[in-house]
Amino acid sequence: MSLLEIKGLNLSIAGKPILRDVDLTVAKGEIVAVTGESGSGKSITAFSIMQLLPEGAEISGAIQLDGTELTTLPETRLCALRGARIGMVFQEPMSALNPVKTIGDQVAETILIHGAMPKDQARAQAHEMLDRVGLPPDQFSPTRFPHELSGGQRQRVVIAMAIALRPDLLIADEPTTALDVTTQAQILDLLKGLVAEFDMGLLMITHDLAVVSDMADRIVVMRAGEVVETGPTRQLFARMRHPYTRMLFEASRHSVDLPEKHSSEPLLSVQNVVRAYRLPRTKLFAPAEYHRAVDRVSFTLRKGERLGLVGESGCGKSTLTRAILGLEPVQGGQILLNGASVYTERGADLAVRRGMQVVFQDPFGSFNPRHRVARLITEPYHLLEKSPSGAARADAVAEALRAVGLSPDDAGKYIHEFSGGQRQRIAIARALIIKPDLILFDEAVSALDVSVRARILDLVAELCESHDLSYLFISHDLSVVRTITDRVLVMRAGRIVEEGETEQVFSHPTHPYTRALIAAAPVLPDIDTQHRSHPHV
């Protein structure tokens, strides 16, 4: 018999059906991955098992853990079960821990709340678990607070909390989505090791097919609240019976053909740029210390070039982006656009700045919800000395919307009427409207589902053809950068450690850090070679 058995699970919230007839099993020592795009119901399936559902949720069907039916279990018995027999790891390590309690106490709490052992023993057990997840107490004191740890370290604490009582089943909801690739690889290894060591069942929720294919014994593909396909990993990838599975797979490794562009004329020239932050003083009379977030970075982006910038969080790529946009002063070097400096003595030079536009990561947070689309996308007009008005303005809006595949009628709508992918199109329209020489894409597709991402990448490729785009594409996602750029810069700790033709860098990385990055990135299984125009990361 399976450890976890879900049969015919239906769930609706306030009368709206969320899950339909979901079947799922996890055996001891087995890793089952649930995958699908946002809104597929994969997370809510996990919370159904924990019986931690939002108000107004109605559930029918069976969820059995070792033969115990969970849907009808009284709350007190569920509390005894949660944390003891089922552990859970969440997506956001930054917010999953209580900021005002030490990590040692938080791990020990799992043990104490179930009355498993006396206090001093629980503490010892907590330290042992922290040690097991790679936070040895002699290096990472259990008296530390969460804010004193990095994202990866916090995720280790969350895992230690979840496994402190050696549960039979561990549920991990997008456990590595918020982490860098190298950290992701370590956390995935840790989870794999724990499953083998404790003989746990692991139910892993993830949108990332490459992670799934590396980790899982079996895969469950969900769409719109239903399981569309399930099977052992290798078999499932080999057959892909359901068109949705195939679509997910294709979209995950989507590649675009960029038009050839050759120009040697420099557009953006970054020369020896330094951006230093003053550190808080540790001694009263000692000279202030500085942290160089960007450390003597130089590169040139030529007209028509599509340049990628990759690196992990904290490497300085966002700081560099802001410096290029003239949003932050630099402490050394210069940034030239078309030969003119972005900075004057009194801050950013607007005449130069109007040559650049940016598309940000978050399609939800980067628009004012109270403005209509027409006003949102004409915002860059304030950079112009004379902005078009009346019919000319309406025409420009219509043209920009058409260019990104939306209808001119959308100009009168508010931003909440659009999906994430459409919002990102609007963000691109906003960047295009003043016909800038250079666009900066700052993690512009990172928050999107794979199918939406594929279409946005197509759009960017089309715009390269129709609008002669030159852009700097900043991303942590190597597979995206590989297909959407001609040349790539690899950044680490404020410096550019490798630079070259994208394909060259990805297939023959020379710097050890680049090699480590590429090695850590999860890979989709290679199932057919004939359809592929580009190899993939």
């Binding site: 924990m50 931690l52 108000e55 709350e75 007190t76 509390c79 005894a80 079960l81 949660r82 944390g83 003891a84 552990g87 859970m88 969440f90 956001e92 917010s95 999953a96 821990l97 209580n98 900021p99 005002v100 309690k101 709490e109 799992t110 709340i113 179930h114 607070f145 804010h147 004193e148 969350v158 909390m161 979840a162 808080p280 003083r281």
Partner: protein
């Protein structure tokens, strides 16, 4: 933590220095010559000049400022123009009423507000929450002088449990003193408790939506346990801010309640001295209130750091 405390302490001293300058300057600009006021419009010029010398009004402004601040540092607040008694003594007498009243009201306010806020938050959207929020809405809306008169009518006039007003002094015993302050304290506490309960509720609801509360539930904590162990302390920051503001308000903002209950408090003192142009008293009371506000803020800052470890390391 030490750096944090030191930094707050320096800011406290600087704030006080700036405040004393501003208070002095504002009172200087205010119209009305205290000496003329005391002697009446028909005063002889030489009598007036003599009084001005006696009161120290003819010294230069910087000298008077320094004398005032220097005196205060040594506990000498000067002499009242009208009563010819040391201001320090007058303030001390009033403080013996106002301070206990403030603390009394604050304690009642917290004792009412915390359970009410926690209860409402834990029953969000249900009947209990709606009833509690309705009650606090009423508590905010009712003018406190009216509520005070109702209290007098019910508990003093009809039931005769309390005196309708006046303060017998602490020498009649602590119990008698507290008894006399009970109705005013309740009248003062009700609107404050209503505001505090609403802040507590919304702060808790914010925290209940946090990811770490879900983590706590996934560990096996019940709803109530998660609220107590993880919710409350995180919700305290906004609540502390409001409590800090309320202390200062209660100390000086009780003028109306002091009038209703005929209490010799600070509010009345400041009101009377403004009427009689007793500028030295006004200056000193205002300075004292500023001192209290700034000190309470300092204590609230320290309390923040105790509640939230992230503030301890920040500079």
């Amino acid at each position: 933590m030490l750096r944090y405390t030191l930094k707050r302490l320096i800011s406290l001293v600087l704030s006080l220095a700036v405040a004393s300058l501003v208070i002095f300057a504002v009172i200087e600009i205010a119209p009305g010559d205290p000496a003329l006021f005391m002697l009446g419009v028909n005063a002889q010029p030489d009598t007036l000049a003599a009084l001005r010398t006696e009161l120290g009004l003819d010294a230069s402004k910087p000298d008077r400022y320094l004398a005032w601040v220097g005196g205060m540092l040594q506990g000498d607040f000067g002499t009242s123009y009208t009563y010819r008694t040391p201001v320090a003594g007058m303030i001390a007498d009033r403080l013996w009423v106002s301070l206990p009243l403030t603390i009394y009201a604050l304690v009642i306010s917290i004792l009412l507000a915390f359970p009410a806020g926690i209860y409402a938050a834990s029953r969000r959207g249900k009947m209990g929450d709606a009833a509690m929020m309705g009650t606090t809405q009423l508590g905010v809306a009712i003018p406190n002088f009216w509520f005070a008169m109702m209290l007098v009518l019910v508990f003093a006039v009809n039931l005769r449990w309390f005196n309708a007003g006046g303060f017998p002094g602490w020498d009649k015993g602590v119990w008698t003193g507290l008894h006399a302050l009970t109705l005013p304290a309740i009248a003062l506490a009700l609107p404050q408790a209503s505001i505090l309960a609403r802040v507590m509720r919304s702060a808790l609801l914010d925290v209940l939506g946090e990811d770490f509360m879900r983590t706590a539930r996934a560990k096996g904590l019940s709803r109530g346990q998660a609220l107590w162990r993880h919710g409350l302390r995180n919700a305290l920051i906004p609540v502390l801010t409001i409590i800090g503001l309320q202390v200062s308000f209660l100390l000086a903002g009780a003028i109306i309640i002091e009038q209703v209950f005929y209490l010799p408090g600070l509010g009345r003192l400041i009101f009377q001295s403004i009427n009689s142009r007793d500028l030295i008293v006004v200056e000193s009371v205002v300075m004292l209130l500023v001192f209290v506000v700034i000190t309470v803020n300092f204590l609230v800052d320290l309390a923040y750091a105790l509640v939230d470890p992230r503030l301890r390391t920040r500079t």
